[in-house]
Symmetry: C2
Amino acid sequence: MTDDRQDDPRDAAGARADEERRREEARRREEEARRREEETRRAEEAEDEVDVKAVRAAIAAEDHETVRAVALDLHEADLADLIEQLPSAERRRLVETLGPDLAPEALAELGEGVRDEVLEFIDPAVLAAAVKELDSDDIVYLVEDLDAEEQARALEGLDAEDRAIVVQSLTYPEYSAGRLMQREVVTAPTFWTVGQMIDHLRAADELPDPFYDVIVVDPAMRPVGRAALGRILATRRPATLEGIMDDEFRTMRVDDSQEDVAYAFNKYHLVSAPVVDDSGRLVGVITIDDAMEAMSDEHEEDILRLGGVGGDEEITDTVWETLRQRFPWLLVNLATAVLASLVIDQFEEVIAQVVALAVLMPIVASMGGNAGTQSLTVAVRGLATRTLTDANARRVVLREAVAGALNGVLFAAVMATVALVWFGDGRLSAVIAAAMVINLVAAALAGVLIPIALEKVGADPALASGTFVTTVTDVVGFFAFLGLASLVLL
Amino acid sequence: MTDDRQDDPRDAAGARADEERRREEARRREEEARRREEETRRAEEAEDEVDVKAVRAAIAAEDHETVRAVALDLHEADLADLIEQLPSAERRRLVETLGPDLAPEALAELGEGVRDEVLEFIDPAVLAAAVKELDSDDIVYLVEDLDAEEQARALEGLDAEDRAIVVQSLTYPEYSAGRLMQREVVTAPTFWTVGQMIDHLRAADELPDPFYDVIVVDPAMRPVGRAALGRILATRRPATLEGIMDDEFRTMRVDDSQEDVAYAFNKYHLVSAPVVDDSGRLVGVITIDDAMEAMSDEHEEDILRLGGVGGDEEITDTVWETLRQRFPWLLVNLATAVLASLVIDQFEEVIAQVVALAVLMPIVASMGGNAGTQSLTVAVRGLATRTLTDANARRVVLREAVAGALNGVLFAAVMATVALVWFGDGRLSAVIAAAMVINLVAAALAGVLIPIALEKVGADPALASGTFVTTVTDVVGFFAFLGLASLVLL
């Protein structure tokens, strides 16, 4: 048969129509697939988004069935979110409605504030049962703030060995590697073969979760290497662990701070790190997911401290907790604000004669405060990420000073123009321009030097917060502006 | 022989001395072990701490031997830190001295600013050689900001398939799951047995690193489960992957933001997550170490934005880059500061008569600014961690307002006393007390409502920064204080 479609217009049209139909069909199928995909995605997202309002309505209506159906269907992390987002009274009713069916992991996911609140009213039997199902690090988090008697009661259900592990962990300082680590570790001697390792794992009752590598230890239980699971899987049975282990691993000590741990994980791309005691013996392992959570906590604390808030304020806090966290910093700020006012007080005379000074002086202070906060933020981050070090501190300070001076000159020009247009006084313009340059240089220097100094004396540089820097910029700003004014204008 | 030591005082003394000696010996050994341990630890720490000054001295002396010896002995992450901490000119000399021996991973560890600087002077042949040794995600990071021609040249050495992968990855938006993922994935069909899987892995040329689990896929390459390596290792050969896989896994889409990815990893304790394209086909995998780095980047951006600095300023930036990042925010701040001054300008008359007002007014503004920043910080973090949601927004706003009012009353009392002692004017005291309450309530409300509003319109709440909130507190503070003063005092 020859191809004669070109000769027969009707056949050609038919073929075109066929082609068209096939394409149409393919388009339709594709469309359909996309639509299904989109629906699945939406359904998945909806699953993640707990309908808090519906739950609250069900709680109010004492519709226990619905409450349980919704809550028990959630991922533990989402259930924890739901508990956190309810008002106090409803929180309690939800927890009581769920009773022993409340997932133990959800308790371990709660923020500290809500955790402590829930522990106050939860049935001790439910708590003891939950504790039995959790890993040691989660148990420690759950019971760390209970008093001795409650703690003993909560740990009652554990067997002696597990209880001893938890009690031991509680002796390590809060926010240390010892608190962060899990005690469940798979170890093996160097001479084991891959085959022995696999047989050992197959025979094990239970394996740690998460579990990324086997810690290879010497006879004194000192870690000498790590054998990644991927490496074990990809190696034939007769090879020894010594041959495949990575001896470039990093060991943490029980008393290392969680900040240092998180830093090392992020910098060296660690997956897990053995934790040793003072004598170098392996006591636990920190995995990257714990390190990620520690990093998140530390960042949180830095941000809050920079904002002048106690490091552990949470959105779920009550009015009283909020007040307790914020009052002290506001009090410090009041003291420093009064200091700035004392400076202004020295220049009452010139202000009384040139009221325009009172109008313009907040601009000088505000620009200084903002520029100082910029330098401060960059310096605090540089210290936290260890990119600002002794080696480059002098260069960074110099750069800040130069950038401050350049910004000062630019804004001096702008403000001199604004002041001239506004008040028509050339000398006033000159005064505000000079004060602007002085204050922006002071701001840049204070912003970088104060956190460096705090770090040197062993304090958290983030505690510098706005307050100290803005004290400097307020005092310098008012003094420069009003002082120059009394020299030039009086 | 009977035990007659008690009868012989000399023997008893000898036994005690023996006992004493043994204890002494044990103590000494323990001491010795501790000392050795301590020494090792110090040596390890010293290894981590690069002696930047020594390197700079060697560079200055053109002592290439020493420079190479020190630099090539470092972990790649430490080498990257060293490169970052050198001044520009020495940075270049170090990179040129190392030449082709510069570890490719060290290039991938550099911050964006220094990376771009190094890429400008690095020998293109060294770059192309480095690219050949890196994983796809690191290559993408390295070349993403090069122009088309340089990019082509850098990727020249890759084989066609790897190059296609990199080019494809570059089409995904920056800071998306597509950019974050690695393309190297181990997949397997559901019907494979553990034995087949192990044989496959043993036969593989190269496995991804890091590598935590096998993604189980259907025939259309859609992920249907994940089989953790620990689980595979602990299971006997005949079991199928379908039987041991976890089908409760979370899938990311190529266009998900890295912020969402990091959030999901941290919340659900994910170890790895398959990434799919629009049609649901597997295109890569994100592992927790990538998610941890993304989280760190996002936190960094939030902190910098809250501090009124462009989100990607680095400590290694030059003066000009610093200026470019900071000038715009200072300009915005100037505009808002002028606004506040316009308010003061309305009350020139009362200030001219009662100069004490000029002395006290910055205190009202400063307290408002600080209280506002506190609320703002907590609200921005609540939004970022998704603990501040539609479900509890009204409660949080109410709590802020009440806490603001209570703080207002407390500080009103303090300031009224201070003002009374200072200026001896009861009416002035009353005015500042009332203004303090008004401004702290306004601060609390502005601090929480501005970020919520920004989030609603799809902007980053951290962009609220101090500036908008302090505009509100300055304007309200000056207006309340001076306005009440002109009513009461004139």
